[in-house]
């Protein structure tokens, strides 16, 4: 796998939100607006790149028995950093993201990439993987946030969308609308990437197959 591929696979082909269905909690909760989506996405990208880098460097030093606590400590360090930075420089975003900023620590995308990729690969691919996955996450959140903000509030990135005044549907900014928009976007991404549902469940076509230690036959049995 070359470096370019490592970077681009996170954008669409293995998009963490639309394909792997990871990080659903922030995806549904903070995407009531496009700006929140970008903020959450870029914060996560920062943490993802940094944690991938450090975990990759320490991959031989971390004992296998305590790897998860070690990963969490590393991730939490960077989350605290980004939290202070947002609090200091973009307080409005800090307030609107609320507890979900701290919850980046337990975001399964970050832990997933640490476990699946950074702990098994060299430094440059790990950084690229983190950047690709992070930007894919940002893209997904931005799309979700845009759709929900335009239809739900009649604005986009805070600007009024012409023609939407008085025609907004508040369902879109409600949690139910979040699930609805997510489902439709997943369907669109499936159609765009021309993925067909597998005839038989198996490891072929599973985006997590490389990192998965269990055999599908065993799991199903």
């Amino acid at each position: 796998m070359n470096n370019l591929n490592t970077f681009t696979k996170g954008l669409l082909k293995e998009n963490p939100v639309f394909v792997s269905l990871l990080g659903m909690c922030p995806t549904l909760a903070v995407t009531t607006g496009a700006f929140n989506g970008i903020g959450m996405g870029l914060s996560t990208t920062f943490v993802l790149i940094c944690s991938n880098l450090v975990i990759c460097l320490l991959r031989k030093a971390i004992p296998a028995q305590v790897k998860l606590p070690c990963y969490i400590v590393i991730i939490a360090t960077f989350v605290t950093l980004i939290q202070f930075m947002l609090h200091g420089f973009v307080p409005s975003l800090y307030t609107s993201l609320g507890a979900f900023l701290e919850l980046i620590t337990v975001n399964c995308i970050i832990l997933g990439r640490a476990e699946m990729f950074a702990s098994k690969n060299k430094v440059i691919p790990s950084i690229l993987d983190g950047a690709g996955m992070g930007l894919g996450f940002t893209l997904a959140l931005f799309l979700m946030g845009s759709v929900r903000e335009i239809f739900g509030s009649g604005t986009w990135l805070g600007l009024t969308v012409p023609g939407m005044t008085g025609h907004t549907m508040s369902l879109f900014v409600m949690p139910a609308g979040g699930f609805f928009v997510l489902g439709i976007l997943i369907a669109v991404v499936c159609k765009l990437s021309k993925r067909k549902p597998p005839k038989k469940l198996g490891c072929a076509g599973c985006p997590n197959a490389a990192a998965c230690s269990a055999k599908c036959e065993e799991v199903q049995a």
Partner: protein, 331 residues
Amino acid sequence: MGLLTVSPSPHIRSAMTTQKIMLMVVLALVPAIISGTIFFGPRALFLVVFCAVVSMFTELVCRALMKKEGTISDGSAMLTGVLLALNLPVTLPLWQAAIGCIFAIAVVKQLFGGLGCNFANPAITGRIFLLLSVGSDMTAWVKPFYYLDAPALGLFETTGSQALDGLTGATPLASGDAGLMELFIGNVGGSIGETSALAILIGGIFLIAAKLIHPSTPAAYLGSLAALTFVQVLVTGGEMTEVLYALLSGGVMLGAFFMATDYVTTPITVKGKIIFGIGCGILTFVIREFASMPEGCSFSILLMNLLTPYIDKFTRTTPVGAKKEKKEAAK
């Protein structure tokens, strides 16, 4: 030659087809449509026709896009449109009504595989979608006969309730000041088809007499709601007319006879239907009394729709001749 044809069972077919059932239900809704037109003016009738047309058109487009055979002739899309329109206030802008119909048909019904595969009642879900999306327009109730002494709302009016400032009021369910006779006839504010208990009863009794619906669901629904209200009256010490008031106001009548009896989304057995009806009654009561919404009929039916597969599982009947040991062994 017909006698010699070899075909798999069933060999005896009922003359009752899906198309006939759907048309009969639409026929049973005609009294409610008439009462809605009398009380809320010609726009009510127009809205009903509009919703039916949009629903059928959506069905046509969906089936064509999915490259499946057209199902528009079975009448189910028309029924969904009519039922949804009867659940809307007469002032609702047309684009909102159209979105409700498109959501009901495209998302709730066709995305799940069309008639027979939908997990929830399309009309109910369409109504809830609109209620959550455009809540203020969905809860603007004009007074009956508003169109006589005020300039009637144009058929294609898009501004909705804002055009009729001062003519709208709370539903009798929220205000609690309507007379019982008014409620029975339907001379109160509300959705197009829900106000007149009399018109709904005529349609409901027609359906029961034609054996299209089983009386157990409406009986269990209305019965449990009445029983709970009765207990509440006993505890709080109100008047006994409140029980009747609870049954006649809001959308319970329409829901009990036409929504909670949908074939696809309600249990099959009579026992299951009774459980379904009681569940709807309890949920409606709880939502009306303790939740922030004035009416809980549509939410209660949707919630029970979701429970229907489990009710069906618990009330499964044993086939004729099946041995009891086998049933236990299968468990």
